[in-house]
């Protein structure tokens, strides 16, 4: 599946408009940097299986994030570095080795009409991107006017470790954790969960030990930041991801820290997921570290 994404549709959650945006914003930004784009421009988010693309004009491209084999007119090219596609050139995504989502940036950005200030595709609300949907064979995309020169000529490494088969992510305590049983809180951080096949950009459904609620009286619906781990009465947790609804009424046991959202975004169905508690100070330090590594890749 391939969708148009940027850094999300912020500023309208008060009207119930989901944020959407790249599941791994770090790789989205890196791909943009490689071709000399501002981080606000839209890329293609390629999930699990990649497309074949034909370029009608000469274009500078880069792919960052999941480790896909990439073929340009039958010749293998590397991810993590800018390359030039000639007019009529064909770029094909092949086998995927690690991670779940790759970001293809083109110099000038993917130019779909912004909706409420963002080009991100929100599949559930059918907003933004190309008609609010994922790409189909035969679609044509317009590329914006290139705004800069490729900033980095060599190959770069991702500023975080791409997960293979699963990952631990750090979480801060959620506002409703006192509604869980002590056993459930222990299982949450000691156990490993498996991402269910019916997970998507809205959220990851997790299989594993059931997390029992000590207090299952109804909660009033409240905001649900990205990374919120919800526990419905069934006891099977859900990690809310980019296309999450703006509000929800399930118990919020924890929130994935911003620095580990890119890792979470690189997980796919069947991968395992574990949770480690951390404090706010550690979360901020981790994010500053990630930002510094992203700024200094070269």
């Amino acid at each position: 599946m391939t969708t148009v994404q940027d850094r999300g549709r912020w500023g309208h959650q008060n009207l119930g408009v989901p944020v959407a945006g790249a599941m791994d914003e770090c790789s989205h930004r890196l791909a943009n940097r490689l071709v000399g784009n501002s981080s606000e421009l839209a890329t293609l988010e390629v999930t699990l299986v990649g497309p074949s693309l034909e370029f009608l004009a000469e274009t500078t491209c880069a792919v960052a994030g999941a480790g896909f084999e990439l073929w340009l007119d039958g010749v293998q090219v590397q991810t993590g570095r800018a390359f030039c596609v000639p007019p009529g050139g064909g770029l094909r995504f092949g086998r995927r080795r690690a991670g779940a989502r790759a970001y293809l940036a083109v110099s000038g950005g993917i130019d779909v009409p912004p909706v409420l200030g963002s080009r991100s595709t929100d599949l559930a609300s059918q907003l933004g991107g190309l008609g609010g949907r994922s790409l189909r064979a035969g679609d044509r995309l317009v590329v914006g006017r290139p705004t800069g020169r490729p900033a980095i000529s060599g190959a770069v490494e991702l500023p975080f470790r791409l997960p293979v088969g699963g990952a631990h992510v750090r979480v801060m305590n959620g506002p409703d954790r006192e509604r869980m049983t002590p056993e459930a809180l222990a299982s949450f951080t000691q156990g490993r969960f498996t991402i269910d096949p019916d997970s998507n950009r809205m959220g990851y459904r997790l299989r594993g030990e059931l997390l029992a609620l000590a207090d299952s009286s109804p909660l009033l619906s409240g905001p649900t930041p990205v990374g919120t781990v919800q526990v419905p009465p069934s006891g099977t947790p859900i990690v809310l991801m980019a296309d999450r609804q703006t509000t929800g009424g399930y118990v919020r046991i924890a929130t994935v820290i911003s620095a580990d959202l890119p890792v979470a975004g690189q997980l796919g169905p069947g991968d395992w997921l574990g949770f480690e508690l951390c404090e706010h100070r550690e979360a901020v330090a981790a994010l500053i570290g990630l930002e510094q590594r992203l700024m200094h890749v070269s």
Partner: protein, 224 residues
Amino acid sequence: MLNPTDWRITMAGDAAVAIEYPPRIDPLISQRVVALAARIRAARHVGVRDVVPSYHAVTVYFEPTHTDLASLWTALEEEAELPGAMETPSREVIVPVVYGGVDGPDLGEVASFSGCTTEEVVRLHTSVLYRVYMVGFLAGFPYMGTIDSRIAMPRREVPRLSVPAGSVGIAGIQTGIYPMTAPGGWRLIGRTAVGRFDPELDSPSFYQPGDRVRFRAVEKVGAP
């Protein structure tokens, strides 16, 4: 009972804070929440990306590496401390609804649940001036309350895969309107042509937190 003016600030992950009032559906709490959210939004604090009012909280989303959290926290405390935090006068909207039939497939079930006739359900649903407490779940979906306890039927056990745009539903003591066709579990009692979500408009959501809404029974969807 907690005082509706009691509040506290809590972290909601590392990129959001919430100013929380006592957790209940209460017009006084909602007025404070709506007014406070408007003031925080207008203040344009550095790093703030979104200000979201809900039933009993205002959630402020910010960019962690572009925000001085300590000074944002202090500013939010000062905003919350301000006396007379009342909202600006709100709109009053009349929403014409066709009740029952294909437009409101669950009207009969709600009548059975409440032990009264479908006409009585319609009378009870149209007899209240509702408040829009928040907009969420779907883009432009108004959470309104509170409905007469006799017709306050819980959500369906199994949500429908597709609820038509304009459907008017009940979920416990809340009532709401689907602004677009979407999956959903509310009990559908009618349908209206008013209030579709339209991102092309300056105000894409027809409903805003704080609006007052009254339903009126009509014969045909789209009739005045």
